[in-house]
Structures are given as C-alpha cells and as structure tokens.
C-alpha cells in the first residue's frame, strides 16, 4: 500500500492507495465515531455499496446509507439538503462520520455537507473515479454549484482520510478515465516536467488502465497535489496553479450547461487554450503547445473548444472566482513543468477565444 501524507492547518491526514481498500474502510473510521453515513449515488452503489457497508459495519457502529441523484447537474443546494434531511431524520450527532463514496460530485457535496452539518463533522473520501482520486478528493476543497457559477458556495474542509481503491477503476466508462487523466497530465504541466514526459510515454497504458501505470499516475498526482495544498491550503497563492486550464474549463461547463462535458474533459480542452494563451503572453514555445494538444488527444479528451461566442466566453470567465477586482487572471506556463498566475491583456485572450469559433462538439 502507498501512503501519501497531507498536512494543512485545517488537518493532517493520509491518502491510502491500494487495490482492495474498499474492503478495509472500517480502518479509516475514528474510534469515537457515534455513527456512520455512507453517501453515494445509484450508479456507484450498484457496484460497491454493499461491500462498503459491510466494511463499515465491521466497526460495530450504526451505518446509514444515503443515495443522491447522479450527475453534476445535481451538485446543488437541493441535493445538499437531501443529506441534511437524512442525517437529521436519523439523528446523527456531531461525532458522526460521513463517508463519500463516488466521484468528484459526491466528494465535493459530501465534503461540504460535513463542513456545515452541526458546524462540522468528520468525513472520509472514497473516490471512485480517476478524477476524484487524483484531484477533487485531496486538499479539502468542497462546494456546490450556483446557477451563476460553478463551486461558488463551499468551504475549505479537510477529510480525516482518503481511501483510494485502484480496483474500482475497472468499472469506470472509458470517457471517465480519459477525463480523469486530463488532471493527471496537469500536474506534469504545472510542476513536474519528468512526470509529463512519463505521461507522454505511457498515454496508451493509462488509457487502457494498465494497473501499474495507473497506480503510479495516481500516487504521483496525489504527491504533487499534497505538496501544493500543504503549502497553501486556502489558495492564497501557490495553490492557484492547480487551476491551470480551469478558467476556460469552467466556462465550457457553465456555457454548455453542467453535465454536458465532464469536468476533466473541459479542463483537458481548457489546458490547450491556456497553453495557447501562454504562448502569446509568456512565450511558451509552439512545439510545447503542440505537445499539450497531442497528449490531451492521446488520453482521449476533446481538443476542440465549443463555440460559445467570444463575449459569452469572457462573461462566463469573469464570474469565475479567480477574478479579483475585475481583472482577469490566468494560470499560464512559461515552459512545461512551471506555472504562474498572470493578468492577461484582453486582446491576447480574444485571439485565443476566436479559435473556438467553430460548431460545439456534442459530448453529452
């Protein structure tokens, strides 16, 4: 088993990565927990809920099960309230522990529920998608969406443990694997050129879920993310580099309606746009931009941004929370393996967006 430690002001916790962790979930429940709520969705539950519940019940504690509707379009207040309703109806107290079994939507919404329920209860992340395993389950960013923007309502709130069972990726649709790999290559792009090269060399192996390659990709991604969030939990500086590709990506998701493109697909495409912007603003070499595009394509993500119209693109990006004082900032690459947050001239941005002026690809 690989263990990666995360150490933030808001909490210190382990990420365990190994096949079969699902059957050891009881290990991650604190001894003084008064009850456990397993929160998942019907899609994940069909594969894994009974094993997870058996593992949790081995602690001898009461386990309740809560199912939320599946999909980014349900990552909202209404779904969040389904959790609160269930916790209160079952009288879970402030020493209860929530367990988030699912992808990024489940992790984000359960984490936020844990942050708010009785002003904070403990929770365990059990991510079941590549994306959640390498990104959203680590670092304590929790949130729900608002009609006017993604992840606008949330909290920085750390889990007590992240349990990554690499076996669960076997039941994942190909499209979800590809989308998750977009976040994997992001880590190479922003902070580890050798890992980016490793991803280039192993793109096919990753796409076909070779267990060894996938385990390495997950552990290395978690190490890199842990390094960043341990240094900057609340995104006051360094952590912003993790948003590489995300300002474009969020605009794609919001512009097409949440759930049309997967988050990782939007980020993959957004990284190409961010690389193009990096070329204009910071002089990232053209062949580096081409390498980004090739690798995004090789892992199976779309490379053509939808045509939202330039003004709509900019409008959507302005509501993004990385805007400060009205000035649009982007995470850009001076070279592969290095990132910085940077204000961008309007003209450069518009030229990059003009390249998106082609019919939107239907991804849903």
């Amino acid at each position: 088993m690989n263990t990666v430690e995360v150490n933030t002001p808001g909490g210190r916790y382990p990420i365990h990565v190994a096949p079969g962790r699902l059957d050891r979930l009881g290990d991650s429940i604190p001894a003084d927990a008064t009850a456990i709520a397993l929160i998942t969705n019907p899609t994940v539950a069909a594969h894994y809920a009974s094993r997870a519940i058996a593992a949790l019940e081995s602690t001898g504690k009461r386990v309740i099960r809560v199912e939320l509707p599946d999909g980014e379009q349900y990552k909202d207040w209404q779904t969040l309230n389904l959790i609160f309703d269930a916790l209160l109806q079952n009288r879970l107290d402030r020493k209860a522990v929530l367990v988030a079994l699912g992808g990024g939507v489940i992790g984000d919404i359960v984490g936020f529920a844990a942050a708010c329920y009785m002003r904070g209860v403990r929770f365990v992340q059990v991510p079941t998608t590549v994306l959640a395993q390498v990104d959203s389950s680590v670092g304590g960013k929790t949130a729900v969406n608002h009609p006017l923007g993604k992840n606008m309502i949330g909290a920085f709130y750390q889990p007590v443990a992240v349990e990554i069972d690499t076996d669960v990726l076997n039941t994942l649709p190909d499209r979800e694997v590809s989308a998750g790999l977009a976040e994997v290559i992001k880590y190479g792009l922003i902070m580890d050129p050798a890992f980016f090269e490793w991803c280039e060399a192993n793109a096919d192996a990753l796409r076909r879920r070779d267990p060894q390659a996938m385990a390495h990709a997950i552990v290395r991604s978690c190490e890199l993310k842990a390094q960043v969030v341990s240094a900057d939990e609340r995104e006051s500086g360094l952590r912003a580099i993790l948003n590489f590709g995300h300002t474009f990506g969020h605009a794609i998701e919001a512009g097409l309606g949440y759930g049309q493109w997967l988050h990782g697909e939007a980020v993959g495409c957004g990284m190409i746009q961010a690389a193009e912007l990096s070329a204009r603003v910071l002089g990232l070499p053209a062949d580096s931009v081409a390498r980004v595009r090739s690798l995004v394509e090789a892992i199976g993500c779309p490379v053509a941004p939808p045509d939202l119209g330039t003004d709509r693109w900019i409008d959507l990006m302005q509501v993004d929370k990385k805007t400060e004082g009205g000035q649009l900032r982007f995470v850009l690459l001076p070279r592969i393996g290095e990132a910085r947050s940077q204000a961008v001239p309007d003209a450069d941005l518009r030229q990059v967006l003009a390249q998106a002026a082609q019919p939107a690809t239907e991804q849903g």
Copy 2:
C-alpha cells in the same frame, strides 16, 4: 472606546464598543477589499442603513445593499440564497467584504454566507440588538436553521471585526432589550458571580437602558465570551458552558415554532429550568434557583415554560446537537458563577419538565 480582543485559531479580531461606531464603519474595512456588501433587514435599514452606507462609502469602495426578510423564521436556506444571488449578480469576488447590520439572525446568516461564498470571504459584525452585541456576534458561530432543528447547518467562522454602537439600542423594542439581558446574566451565572451580583443590583438600570450600565454589561459580557471562545473556538470542551439554558431554550423555540418567543426569552426561561435541574442533579441551593428566577423576571423575560408535553420536550432536546451518542447532556451549575457539562438521569429531567405542564404563554 472600549476594545476587547478575541484570539482564536480561526482568527484574531477586535470588538469595538462605543457610541457612534456606526459612523466609523469604514475603519473596519480591510484596505484590500474589492467591494462591500451591507446586508440588513428592512426594520434595521429604516433606522440605520443610510448612515452605515455613508460610512462604508467613505472608503471609496463600491457598496451594494442587500435586504433580507426580518425574523427568525427566515433564518433558512432560502434567505441565505438571497445573499448568494445578490453577491453573484453584482459579481463580488473573493476579496469582497460582507457587513452584517442587524440582530442575531442577520449576524448568523451573514456570517454563514461569508463562510461559504467562494469558500470564504471576510465579514464584519455590526450587531444592533443587546443579544447580538453580547453573544451571537462574538465567537464565530454562524448558522441557519433546518426544519428539524435550530442552527443545524453552519460553520465556525470568525469576523474580521465586531463594531458595537451602543446608541443603536435606543430604537430597540423593550422586549428585545429584555431578551438580550438574559444572555448578559448568563455570563454571570456560568463564570462570574460578582458580575451576576452586579446584574442583580442593576437590573432596573439595565432594563431602562441606562447608558453607563448598558455599556458595562456589554463590555463585560464580551470580555467573558472572548475569554471562552479564545480558549475553545470549536466547542470541543469549555465553550459548551455558553449553552447554559440553551437546550431547554432551543426546545421552546422549536416546539412553539421559531419566532414565537425571542431567542433570549427562551434562553431566559431555559436558564430557570436548567437551574432547577442543577438543584436536582448537582445540589444547587434552592435560594440560588430563586435568585435566577427573580433576575430573569426582573429583566422582563417570561419565567413560565410552555407546556409542550414531556415527551415532546425530550424529543426536541434529543435532536439538539449537544446530544452525543444518544445521551442527553446539559450545562448545569454546581453554584452561581460556575458551570459544567453533565449527563442527566432521565427521571430528574422529567421532574423538571413536569413543572412546565401549564398552558403556554403567548409571547408572539
């Protein structure tokens, strides 16, 4: 001007207490704030919004105004979302500052909005009731209610400053003054016997809002509360004593429907019940119970609990978040000026509740 310092892991901030602070609100806005949202209700706005806005606009920053419906019954998700809608429609970013101008409901809901908006923005508390000035605005407890329980959804989230203008109490209804004084005498009961005696000697002066007496009561209450929350921000131990009278009080509020009794009224009456329970469980002398009752009456709060029926009382108290693992715990007094959290035998609780078997007093 009196300044009380609060120092918690979640933030260090001053409480300023003085007449006329409302006109100096600009002083509390951090220099790097990108915009300010003044959030209040129509009742408070009629008296103070224009002065507050003038003071905030003196910073040269953009000020938006948000009005929420007035009353505990609106301390819910729907009202919270009105804040998020306004902040997003006006494109306030994560360096914006929220200003809560109002009583405890406004302070709790705005504080929670600040905790969640873009995963946390700064906020200033400007409490306009006695209750909010001595209690809810200090210490970072923020929340909204859920149909199944009061303050069930919230966060520990500290303001950057608390600005207490003692002049604003002049426009407060008598009933609100009395309700707030219940929390003032609570501090004496749980941790400062000399202050409790001072309250007994000054009950009339407090009730008629004598400026000197009121200023002393507010500053001393803030000092005592700051002492507790600085030692235990997240209510893992000591801070629980601040809930003296609150388990009974919350049951009154939930049982009659939020908004029927004022929170302070319910706490005042709840403190008498908690004193009676203290007599049975910890041997608090009968004359001490009588002093609690007399002082609650002297400040103008109801002393007869509503007849909710014993089973309903217990049911309502069990959902209270101070329950852990199903065992009912109460903050009790071994003597006036000292408090401890304590598990209570069911029989003692039922005997105290049996005394509530009389027609409910209509307080609305």
